[in-house]
Symmetry: C2
């Protein structure tokens, strides 16, 4: 019965957006007018694995789960469409927690022009939020996969890196000497990441050859691009655009700032590759989408990923990858 | 690292089906050629809530999670398209369990013509499987919602009822005197339900006015149709097509067989309404889809659900609803 009352409360707080929704909640399934190409992804976040409720509010979790799923659409350059949210609530969660999760997701959905068109609520031993998203495009060529990087391309990244990981370290108790507003910005970056939907669409239109959202850290995500493109990607660590405060947090934690920036996950920026003659066009596209683009490397002949550090080729940097550890934060 | 090896194993065992898939695994999101109307739903099953691993194998869970999600598409009359599977695996689950879950889902997907086009694997405290499905249609009018029942319509149900609940009771230890093959069929019905995709599409084409998949028991699902259609639905309990063995299980459990048939969830049959002049057309459609159709009630003026028992109007039958209790089984 809890479930029914909660479902009604959740249904009341979500709104249909745009002309595509024929019907959403209340039937077996949502009915949506499609565009020619559907782009779809599903992401799950689990309490105690991807986040801790000691450092995240229910609203943070709802926001972050939808943000992570929408970031996959941004990484393809797709127009975001609908989201479907599966909630597993532990006995310790109140109905208000359920409402807070969905209200935060709905607030992000509104800014992104997305409709939360369906979902599911269950009980379970821990908070689990699964978000499936659908985006749209007119043809496959309007989208950008991970597999299009070619020798000679430049490698760029939007925005700033390491902010989410820096915020996570602060929440874990790392004591960095930082102005309050910078520390707050890092923590907010960790709790409330923003999917780069406008930048993704703009970079796709501007001729990106390959793109991926930076969910696992640029080192790991650049390797995904290298593998899928069968190309050699070099990332120069001293060019990474670190978020303000990341350097201080890294030093307080006894780590190299570039390592933290390369390995830190959940920034949800976009790593993008493009032919050199597209350089200015991509920079302009990022700027028009309210973002920045920093060139951090290049694509060469061969295969694999090279992380190039200030002291030359950084062989011992394998540990930079998979920085998005499976631990709460 | 377990996660990466498992993801690779899972990716190896799923296949793309049909002409719609442009690309599926390995990128940020799947890319699919759409038809004009998308139909989408998401379902979550949780260990200890929707099933117990004492009575279900990992393969049963994988099958059932996809079957429940596809059943929502059947209830709309949509053509099934793609599925996206989110797995949360507890420490006690092996990689082989993860593979068994996905292999069983893939086997059902193959029979249903569905492509498992994406997913997510996480660790967590219990086994949770979330399945998002997308189906397709050419126009909204080709689909059948819960809201189209009109006074004068007949109410029918496909196949047999109570089989899943009967199987669940046997697994719980109810001792009914039954031939072995009938007991096995009940248990199989509980562990491996089949979504009525062909019947749903055929009934929609044949002119059904309202339709819903029977996931929570006909009593509850008929009430959903009554509420959404703003109509009065009467279901005559002595007309319910009980699966063989349900009567014996109910008596062994000290319950009325019609109550078990009305309240038992997870049969995943279809409850359908249609104008009387469509009667033969719907019967033929069900038969051609390899199913049966039993008329169990009618739609009248007014609102709400009436369960009509052998002793007249069955007022004390409110407890028949929400039979799909939130307990393992």
């Amino acid at each position: 019965v809890r479930e029914l009352a909660l479902i009604e409360a959740l249904e009341r707080l979500v709104r249909s957006r745009g002309e595509r929704i024929v019907c959403s909640l209340g039937d077996d399934a949502a009915v949506v007018r499609a565009r020619p190409i559907a782009v779809a992804s599903l992401d799950t976040v689990v309490e105690g694995v991807h986040f801790s409720l000691e450092t995240h509010s229910a609203a943070d979790v709802g926001h972050k789960a939808l943000a992570a799923a929408l970031s996959d659409l941004a990484g393809m350059g797709a127009e975001p469409g609908e989201a479907y949210v599966g909630l597993v609530l532990p006995p310790s969660a109140t109905d208000d927690d359920g409402v807070a999760i969905m209200a935060a997701a709905e607030a992000l959905a509104e800014r992104a022009g997305v409709t939360i068109a369906g979902g599911d609520v269950s009980e379970g031993p821990a908070l689990v939020v699964t978000v499936a998203v659908t985006g749209w495009a007119d043809e496959p060529g309007d989208l950008v996969g991970r597999d299009g990087a070619r020798a000679g391309d430049l490698v760029g990244v939007t925005g700033e890196l390491g902010g989410s990981e820096g915020g996570r370290r602060l929440l874990e108790g790392v004591e960095a000497v930082l102005p309050g507003e910078i520390a707050e910005a890092l923590v907010r970056r960790h709790r409330r990441p923003e999917p780069r939907l406008a930048a993704g669409a703009a970079l796709a239109r501007a001729g990106a050859s390959a793109m991926i959202d930076v969910s696992d850290g640029v080192a790991t995500d650049a390797r995904h691009v290298a593998e899928r493109s069968a190309a050699a990607v070099t990332v120069e660590l001293d060019r990474l655009p670190l978020a303000p405060g990341v350097e201080e947090v890294a030093r307080a934690a006894g780590e190299r700032p570039d390592a933290l920036g390369a390995a830190g996950g959940e920034d949800f920026e976009l790593l993008v590759c493009a032919a050199r003659d597209r350089r200015e066009s991509l920079e302009r596209a990022a700027a028009e989408a309210g973002s920045t683009l920093t060139w951090i490397g290049e694509v060469g002949p061969g295969r694999g990923l090279t992380l190039s550090g200030p002291g030359g080729e950084a062989r011992g940097l394998a540990g930079f990858e998979h920085g998005r550890a499976r631990r709460p934060g």
